[in-house]
């Protein structure tokens, strides 16, 4: 169903990146984030840009979707840039405005910060746009499995995560419906002071909680009826398996990491 996967803005497409094992994408994203904080000079920046551009190109997701996430953190980016511009100490100011002084060092850190933040958002979008939340939890579960040896309940955590993710769109839809139903009875969710607003929420929250509990109850019952007893001995319908492309992607990722590290050592 379409509405099952609205969370995490998954963008359905038929691409190499979409078909990669989620573990590869998780590791790749992690490596990418690390590289963002490693690079120091223009060559490193170019390498990272090339890596990002390649992923975006391969993912077949329109570029517009990638940069959509930037809009949400616009304010944060502007504030960060301003702080860095004016509060980084240096030797000779290039610009003075009252007590505020701007140094070349500040300009440099501000630019770096902007690049890092926007690359961070766009880069992680590549993962969330090409992987469904369910694939992600599957990947996490399998990837973290070794931890279960030391007693971490990996399966339970992954199961809770996927159920929670599954319920978010349902609850959003339900909220929308109940809100409309109460508005049809003249309820008002917009005007009034904070206390009145909170009071007006009662007709929305009570049915919402009732329905959330009912759904949770039904789900637990349905899982038990299908003999769910936890992770032990449970097999998967679509077990995660690495393919040739996954191996190539891993190789590319680690070569990329090595290059970034080498460039950092030489300050390029």
């Amino acid at each position: 169903m379409l509405r099952d996967i609205t969370l995490g803005q998954y963008y359905p497409a038929d691409s190499v990146i979409h078909k990669l094992d989620p573990r590869v994408k998780l590791v790749g994203t992690l490596v990418y984030i690390v590289s963002l904080f490693l690079f120091k000079g223009p060559v490193g920046f170019l390498v990272i840009t090339a890596f990002l551009a390649l992923s975006i190109k391969l993912s077949k997701v329109p570029f517009l979707y990638m940069v959509k996430g930037l809009k949400a953190i616009m304010i944060l980016m502007i504030i960060t840039a301003l702080f860095n511009l004016f509060l980084t100490p240096g030797e000779t100011p290039i610009f003075t405005l009252g007590p505020l002084k701007m140094y070349p060092e500040g300009v440099k850190t501000a630019i770096f910060m902007l690049i890092r933040l926007s690359y961070l958002i766009v880069g992680t979008s590549v993962m969330t746009l090409t992987t469904t939340p369910n694939q992600l939890t599957d990947g996490l579960e399998k990837g973290l499995m070794p931890l279960s040896v030391i007693g971490v309940p990996v399966h339970a955590i992954a199961m809770m995560m996927s159920i929670a993710l599954r319920f978010i769109p349902i609850l959003i839809e339900e909220t929308d419906l109940i809100m409309k139903a109460q508005m049809a009875r003249g309820a008002d969710f917009e005007t009034g002071g904070i206390i009145k607003k909170a009071k007006n929420m009662v007709p929305l929250l009570v049915p919402l909680f009732v329905s959330a509990f009912r759904r949770a109850d039904d789900l637990a019952m349905a899982m038990e009826a299908r003999c769910y007893t936890g992770g032990k001995g449970r097999t998967k319908m679509k077990p995660l398996k690495y393919s040739g492309n996954d191996a190539r992607a891993y190789l590319l990722t680690f070569v990329f990491l090595a290059v970034v590290i080498v460039l950092r050592i030489y300050n390029l």
Binding site: T6, K180, A181, M183, A184, R185, G186
Partner: protein
């Protein structure tokens, strides 16, 4: 009172990968006192359509007029419209929230700005109309059976004294007796209070039995908009759209083909009986 939908289009999740055009160029006029049935396959846009009629959903393009006034005008009072056009959602029992049935039904009238006494009076009247036992009025709505809850929810809309009531599949999930009771209640509201009724339903039998006019939705467009006997003449097209005519229609066509001169326009069992008796005697 009249509602006019003029070239209404509606798109869900506009501008994303999940864009769905739920309504395509809808033109409908609803007059005072009509009893209208809306039918259509699952996902054909029935629920979306009726949510436009009281301004809960804003059309992506097109206009809607209530008594000649554009409801999307800046100074149009949408909350007032919603009290005049009551909307009972699918599974309305899921919206109950108060501690007593009586309070829950008074919620609408209170929102209209009526005094406590007046709201109570309206609630009392509405509960009486839906035929709920008086001993239940001060109990929790959550302890009722499904059919009873649904009546309370319908009373909640009725208590606002709307001029028109739209019901989205009010009989879904009820047993035959509960279904008949709800439908009789709706038809009583139409006959006694002269309330305009729009009934969304999946059951051709129900629609044929009660309504004067049928709007058939297919993939977001209006496929037919006519009286039942006219609409059910197109039973082959209805089948192609994932619907069916009442079983009586099939029977009458079958009889006609076998050479018995019956009226194929009969849509209810009662009409069919008369026509068959006439043809045989």
């Amino acid at each position: 009172m009249s509602i006019i939908l003029d070239h209404v289009n509606y798109t869900y999740s506009s501008g994303t990968a999940y864009e769905i055009q739920a309504l395509k160029d809808i033109n409908i006029q609803i007059e005072d006192g009509q009893f209208i049935g809306i039918i259509g396959h699952t996902g054909s846009g029935k629920s979306t359509l009726i949510q436009h009629m009281n301004g809960l959903v804003k059309a992506t393009s097109g206009a809607i007029y209530f008594n000649g006034q554009d409801i999307y005008d800046e100074d149009f009072d949408l909350r007032n419209l919603r009290t005049k056009v009551g909307l009972v959602f699918q599974y309305p029992e899921h919206q109950l929230f108060e501690t007593t049935i009586f309070d829950d039904v008074s919620f609408g009238p209170k929102n209209q700005g009526l005094t406590k006494d007046e709201a109570g009076l309206r609630a009392f009247e509405a509960l009486k109309m839906v035929g709920l036992d008086e001993s239940l009025y001060y109990q929790s709505p959550f302890d009722l059976s499904g059919g009873q809850k649904r009546r309370v929810a319908i009373a909640g809309v009725l208590a606002m004294r709307p001029e028109m009531i739209i019901l989205d599949e009010p009989t879904a999930g009820l047993d035959p007796k509960g279904r008949d009771e709800i439908l009789d209640l709706i038809s009583k509201m139409h006959d006694e209070k002269n309330i305009t009724i729009v009934l969304v339903s999946h059951s051709m039998e129900d629609v044929a039995k009660y309504v004067q006019r049928i709007i058939v939705m297919n993939d977001g467009s209006v496929m037919f908009d006519d009286c039942p006997s006219e609409v059910f003449k197109h039973y082959k097209e209805l089948e192609a759209a994932g619907l069916a005519a009442p079983q009586v229609t099939y029977l009458m066509h079958e009889l006609k083909e076998r050479g018995i001169d019956v009226d194929t326009e009969a849509t209810t069992v009662e009409e069919a009986k008369r026509s068959i008796l006439k043809a045989l005697c």
